[in-house]
């Protein structure tokens, strides 16, 4: 294990930003810290970078006690949400900064600095923009400069704090792909903070889901989707609906119908079932299920989403591929809604 975080806690006044967080990252691993705002993900990242001193706990990197080291001794590359480029320096100077501030004996010669800057700018596909100032670049370009600048010091770890948070959707997606490619080429252990579950699932080898300063679950994107550890994880990873029922073995019985429980054995008796819109069926009125009124059919990318309301006003959604829309899914019509399978926590 290259990074080992053990029992980290940090208190701000009366609120606990981190509350006994432990995690590990293997060399070259790509880790996402996922959580809503206030979940402690940024505090955790800053503690690893050395910008925040935790109250208790340990951070070890390749056997070294990181908490005893200053940020510069840790030599981690940090990328910020708002780029934090040096505004009075050109792109070239920005990227070279980490090399130029090294003490005399370890500072590489000018020609080598220039060479490395050129290589890095090529890596982030910004060659030709050496002489521009940050204000003359687009958001996506700025973040790529920031990435090159962080990589210039040959960091032992790359830490990214909501790196795509300030960019629009299209640029976001391009950069995601580039980041993945750069990570594969550089092979550096990378940790990035995000509140966007798609981004985390798309990029990371493993995702750490944080909530209220605690870790809810650590797992690969596949594990998170197929075996969520808590209702929080399940809800955070995608839209879902809730329905009360009675657990009976590996099934849950509702009013006049039942559904299999994916994670059976966790709850007994009265319980609440959670299920996804894409694991929900709409049947004709009178069939087993929750009686609902279909309000609208919305096009959502490759799928159609039926928005339904039960008679007591609760919102349910059901998703279908475009050519498999059931006959019951008509705006204004009545229907019976039934989960295909559910999770119970």
């Amino acid at each position: 294990m290259s990074l080992k975080v053990e029992n980290l806690a940090k208190q701000y006044g009366r609120t606990a930003a981190l509350n006994g967080v432990s995690l590990q990252a293997a060399k070259g691993e790509f880790l996402a810290l996922l959580g809503p705002s206030g979940s402690g993900k940024t505090t955790l990242l800053r503690a690893i970078a050395g910008l925040e001193q935790p109250d208790t706990g340990t951070v070890e990197f390749e056997g070294e006690d990181f908490l005893k080291q200053t940020p510069r001794e840790r030599r981690v590359g940090l990328v910020f949400q708002h780029y934090a480029l040096f505004r009075h320096m050109t792109v070239e100077k920005n990227v070279a900064y980490g090399l130029n501030v090294r003490p005399g004996h370890s500072r590489p010669p000018k020609a080598e600095v220039k060479d490395r800057v050129a290589k890095l700018l090529e890596l982030v596909q910004l060659d030709g923009l050496e002489k521009r100032y940050p204000a003359q670049l687009s958001g996506g370009q700025r973040q790529r400069v920031a990435l090159a600048r962080a990589l210039a010091i040959e960091p032992r770890m790359l830490l990214l704090d909501e790196p795509f948070g300030a960019l629009d959707a299209k640029v976001r997606k391009d950069l995601r792909r580039q980041l993945r490619a750069i990570h594969e080429r550089a092979g550096v252990t990378t940790i990035f903070v995000t509140h966007d579950q798609d981004e985390a699932m798309d990029l990371a080898d493993r995702v750490v889901v944080l909530n209220g300063g605690r870790i809810e679950q650590i797992g690969s994107p596949g594990e998170l989707a197929s075996a969520p550890a808590s209702a929080f994880v399940f809800e955070f990873l995608g839209d879902c609906a809730r329905l009360k029922g009675r657990v009976d073995g590996s099934c849950i019985r509702f009013d006049g119908f039942e559904a299999p429980i994916v994670n059976a054995g966790r709850a007994t008796g009265e319980a609440e079932a959670l299920f996804r819109p894409w694991e929900t069926e709409l049947d004709l009125e009178g069939k087993p299920g929750v009686p609902v009124t279909v309000h609208d059919i919305l096009a959502k990318g490759a799928v159609l989403r039926a928005e339904c309301r039960s008679d007591d006003g609760r919102l349910f959604e059901a998703e279908f591929s475009r050519d498999h829309l059931p006959p019951a899914a008509r705006p204004g019509g009545r229907a019976s809604l039934r989960p295909r399978r559910v999770f119970v926590f």
Partner: protein
Amino acid sequence: MRTLTAKRPASVGAYLLVAAGLSWLALVILLPLAAVFIQALAKGSEAALSALKEPDAISAVKLTLLVAAICVPLNAVFGLAAAWSVAKFDFKGKGLFLTLIDLPFSISPVVSGLVWVLLFGANGWFGSFLEHNHIKIVFALPGLVLATLLVTLPFTARELIPLMQDQGSDEETAAVTLGAGGWTTFFSVTLPNVKWALLYGVLLSNARAMGEFGAVSVVSGHIRGLTNTLPLHVEVLYNEYDFVGAFATASLLAGLALITLILKTGLEWRYAGELSASRRH
């Protein structure tokens, strides 16, 4: 397009309003300024020049420059330190600190001078101690410097604080994680980011340091050729009915003010560009 049309005076009324504004400006600023120069030259340029060549006038110029030369750098350093601490760190009593910085703006300069007399004057708190050790503060250069320092205290800090708050500390954090030490970060990131605002603040405090009358008047003691700064020298000459001398010296001050104004305008032009660049950033 809309801003263009909005900027063009649309009617006779608008033209009248502009004319009224300009006449007011001429009446309260240009006319007195012109009067200063005209009075100075009332008995010819010879008389005006000889008033400036007088030993007392020359020593007043020297003293004024000396006081400014001591106060302005001290002020710049304090302003930077204050702005740095306010903008980049959170600490208890920040609000009180900001209020204290503003205090010299709101108290009368006479009070700013008087406090030093109360502290260091012959009958002041430390008066007997100072007399005993033959240290002169009031009615000497140290008193003038202290009074001027107090009056000009907010100028640099007030220029820098909003800018540095706006810029935040992300760039410094980035520099530190890239391996820069504290001083390197300051000189390569913080200082270049605020250099124009700093220069602007220095210019403003310099103008005030040279022109200050009230506070300096209290601590100076008006010893001709020794503790009279330019503004005090003007007053002395005027009270002695030496109008040409008074106005010649006053036009020297007015000239300094005009130079400051030109530099300030130039800087504002530059500095506005920097600011908008940072906003776009």
